[in-house]
Symmetry: C2
Subunit: 309 residues, 2 copies
């Protein structure tokens, strides 16, 4: 049918080169403008309070994702937050060996300007106590290095919670900015300690000798600054990804820009979603094959090998 | 300071009568319109694809909530979905003995038109295997009965995930509508089975003799129809809340209106958020009391009795 054909075409495109959907162009305007794209019922608008002019830096949000039953739900929820922010480009980077039909179908109906990338982890980085999301984030960083000269980089996992107002804050980042992240460790928050507008330490439940004991969602980086520092990648070092990356940027703690009203507000939370088991196979009865249930199948994640996507 | 004073005032108001914030009036317009409310940086706009005229029924979303570390994160995420829907009123119903400062502060900066209510569960309904959220939902239903003559009722828990497009769908509900909910039981989805546009059965991992084996997030009810059926409450009967409520509405299965393109799309997911332990108390050092950390305290949930909210 038409849907499968569109998905197949998108998959083919993504395998060769990152897809940059038409929505990107349509949604890049600064004023809220509901619009019909390709005659579909797609809503295209972005808005934020800053109402930035064309000179305002674009925000590049790098989101690692991977196959699991709740994947599309998480992406949907994050996309709806990003819809509230103007001048933003979403890099959805999947750890998969080939583009997955379910994510491409989701992106096809997503009005946030975006690029889909593969960030496949090699086998040596799979399993317990291995770093997660590093291959994805590095694929996003490589894409930025090749395509972008200015803007703001932000790492946003798909299960976290973001108050859309944090994006207005990070747009001002000149080098590296930081801000509190709620629900991290038993301390309940991870935050720079700020006095007189300057960073004087870190409040975090796990220091471990890190120079920058911060959460992945707790900082943003200016693209020009990043490129000037030779565009480092994230290290494959569990628990030390942020620290290694920030150290490689050769920034001094005193140069860190505190955001969220001098780190007095929690606008980002490290939420985690309960993992669901993959669904049991649907029976082959007429009630499945000849009704709506047949259509629902394509939107679910089943036990492998049935659900090979 | 000013914030505490505002919260205290709001708490006093809420204790006497449900607060209906000014945002309600401001956001009731149908066109997207970023606006400043009371000179604050509040963003007030709502939008959806239907661009409904004034005759379009308002959607009343009833959301039960309760004290826990991730509460404000969840409400933030849900609010940002509701911001994408026009002509909607959010009933936030907390199971608490008095209005909580943290939720009132959240609502004060929330641009979704809303009413805050208390829906305190009596002690006999607390604990394992007791129904959860019933007192909240019934408080919402009672408020509707007293204040509203038409519109649509929808029960939306604060940890679930909603594609904003489901709200466009439920607006058309004449009596009772139903649609698939993802991530429910090992079957991975709970859905009416639809053939030829008519409901012919239910696909759900837990039937248990229910006439309507559906999830709380899987149906919507027209207010006029609800009132005509004498406005029943939800029963305090674990697992049978939906069934009891729908049976009391005296609707026949064949009269159920299937939505989401005849139940072929999953636009709602029963996601659950991993529970965080309450935060450990912050030390009383100067680094806490004389820095930004002092401000973060009010936004966190600590071990009782410290964090009594």
């Amino acid at each position: 049918d038409a849907t499968s054909a569109a998905v197949a075409a998108a998959a083919a495109a993504a395998a060769v080169t990152p897809t940059q959907h038409q929505a990107a162009a349509a949604a890049a305007s600064h004023a809220p403008s509901p619009a019909s794209v390709n005659g579909s019922r797609k809503l295209v608008f972005t808005i934020d309070q800053d109402d930035p002019g064309p000179a305002t830096p674009k925000i590049y949000v790098i989101t690692p994702t991977y196959r699991r039953p709740e994947q599309v739900a998480e992406l949907t929820r994050l996309a709806q937050t990003l819809m509230l922010v103007s001048n933003l480009h979403w890099l959805v980077v999947e750890d998969a060996v080939a583009p997955t039909r379910r994510v491409l179908a989701f992106l096809d109906s997503c009005s946030v300007p975006h690029t889909y990338l593969l960030g496949t982890a090699s086998r040596r980085y799979k399993g317990a106590n291995k770093p997660r999301g590093v291959s994805n984030r590095n694929a996003g960083l490589k894409w930025l290095k090749g395509h972008v000269k200015e803007g703001i980089i932000y790492f946003a996992d798909d299960d976290n919670t973001y108050d859309y107002r944090i994006f207005q804050e990070i747009r001002a980042t000149k080098q590296v900015s930081m801000f509190p992240v709620g629900l991290v460790t038993r301390l309940g928050v991870s935050s720079p300690i700020v006095s007189g507008g300057k960073l004087i330490g870190f409040y975090d439940g796990w220091i471990a000798g890190r120079k920058f004991p911060v959460d992945m969602a707790g900082f943003a980086v200016n693209v020009q600054f990043y490129l000037k520092r030779n565009a480092p990648m994230m290290p494959y070092n569990v628990g030390f990804e942020e620290d290694g990356f920030l150290k490689a940027l050769k920034i001094k703690p005193e140069d860190i820009e505190p955001l969220a009203d001098n780190c007095t507000k929690i606008l980002v939370w490290h939420t985690r979603t309960v993992k669901s088991l993959p669904a049991l196979k649907m029976p082959d009865s007429d009630k499945v094959t000849k009704t709506n249930l047949n259509h629902l199948k394509s939107q679910m994640v089943f036990q492998l090998p049935y659900g090979l996507s």
